[in-house]
Amino acid sequence: MWLKFSVIVLGMWAIGAAAWGIVPWFEIQRWAVGEQRTFQNVMASALRSIQAGNSQAAWTLCSATAAYGFFHALGPGHGKVLIGGASLASGATLIRLSTITFLSSLAQAATAIILVGGFYFILQIGSADLTDLTETWLAPASYLTIAAIGAVLIFRGARSWHQMSQVKQATHGCCGHAHGPSVNDVATLTSTRDAVALIASIAVRPCTGALFVLVISARFDAFAVGCLAVVTMGLGTAFFNQMVATSGVAARWLIGLGARNHKGMQAISATLHLTVGFMIIALSVGMLLP
């Protein structure tokens, strides 16, 4: 049992390390940061244009925020970690994962709109306090929820391993007609409850860029345009996370090729749960640290 576990884990690390070595991460990061800077400036001039009464600039703003959302997502962020991990470990279909990805980005945009709409307009709280609130409370809340999801994955993976070993002992002692737990026992994200938890953990923390677009547009008396721009920003982010989810599902499929039977598949799924769970916790704890 432990041998099998170690083989699967080692295999996954080898694939991961190879991917890490081949892809020029630093170059990609630098390129993404450069693009983000470009689109951030386009956003600024579009906002100034809107203030000057040029309503066409709303389209420029929305395209720029969409591109910003995409390139900003290329940087490290909490949504990706979770979406990538979930698509690797879960039993959800690609269509289901895509829906969850889009919903989580839209929900994140909605959080920004509600925050600015509520706090800025009704309670008259300034944007500096608003970003403080986001960084001091919402960001840690989001990481804690994400870490909790990691813990759930670990728990499910461990439970599955435990059940498998028990079934093995049972079949030894008896006449061999004991049924192993079905793959569904460890398949995560196939329930609505799982999906909602995942979306909420991402959505609780809005992007600072989105908050700024909203407060600036509010100051320029164009809050509605700002809301639209933040939604397109969310779509840009979703588009990138969609690529992450697709790669995750593809990687899961590749790993699954190694399984010879139903039981092998279950062992792999359980191991993926454990590995991904630990990765998610490690990353979110890393983000929480000062």
């Binding site: 630093f26 951030q40 490290p76 500096a128 916790i281 490690a282």
Partner: protein, 208 residues
């Protein structure tokens, strides 16, 4: 796991929102000692709008900064909290060299970008010789992304002194980082140096 959390955390926090084009310069005394650093921060257009919003600048909406706007900006930009060093790091003989607080600060708005300039005195003037003094600008959390765009040739720079920009080299930074992470695995207690400095441009100042 905590170890990987610390390592990954340091690297993965990279997520800039504010872009700063920085100009630097060196101020020498009559005795050829380095006395202060000249700094200029040119903020990107979006951050400029954010500053206008957060500090409630330009209330008369004429698109210009007036005196009260300038006071508000300089208060935030140069009246640093005790634990903030302005993201400015001077390295002399391999050691972090203590710096003072901003002096003779000024701010202007040029082509929709706010620019803040000031002098940062060294805690104590120092000799400069052939071993380079390094000036780096970086935010350890990479919320601010600094690019050093120029070194101003100050009139009092001694003739035999030279200041040049060495831009951040991703390949070199990556290999240094990997060496560091590899070294971490062998030691019991991880001591992570600031990862941010690996990703920063630097100015090298040498004399003689």
């Amino acid at each position: 796991m905590m170890l990987s959390a610390v390592c990954l955390g340091g690297v993965t926090k990279a997520h800039p929102h504010v872009f700063v084009d920085a100009r630097t310069g060196f101020v020498f005394g009559s005795d050829r000692q380095l006395e202060a650093i000249k700094i200029s921060w040119l903020y990107d257009e979006f951050t400029t709008l954010v500053l206008f919003e957060t500090l409630e600048l330009d209330l008369d909406q004429d698109g210009q900064l007036n005196d009260s706007d300038r006071i508000k900006i300089l208060e935030g930009e140069t009246n640093w909290p005790q634990d903030y060093k302005g993201d400015i790091y001077l390295e002399v003989l391999g050691q972090d060299y203590p710096l003072g607080r901003p002096k003779t600060a000024a701010v202007k708005l040029d082509a929709n970008q706010i620019e803040v300039t000031f002098d940062l005195p060294l805690s104590k003037p120092t000799e400069v010789d052939s071993s380079p003094i390094l000036l780096r600008l970086y935010d350890p959390f990479f919320y601010f992304a600094y690019t050093i765009v120029s070194v101003e040739a100050s009139p009092d720079l001694p003739e035999d002194c030279e200041a040049q920009i060495v831009h951040f080299d991703p390949t070199a930074a990556e290999s240094v980082l990997q060496d560091k992470l590899a070294a971490l695995g062998r030691e019991d207690r991880p001591e992570i140096e600031n990862v941010g400095r690996l990703f920063s441009d630097e100015v090298q100042l040498t004399c003689g």
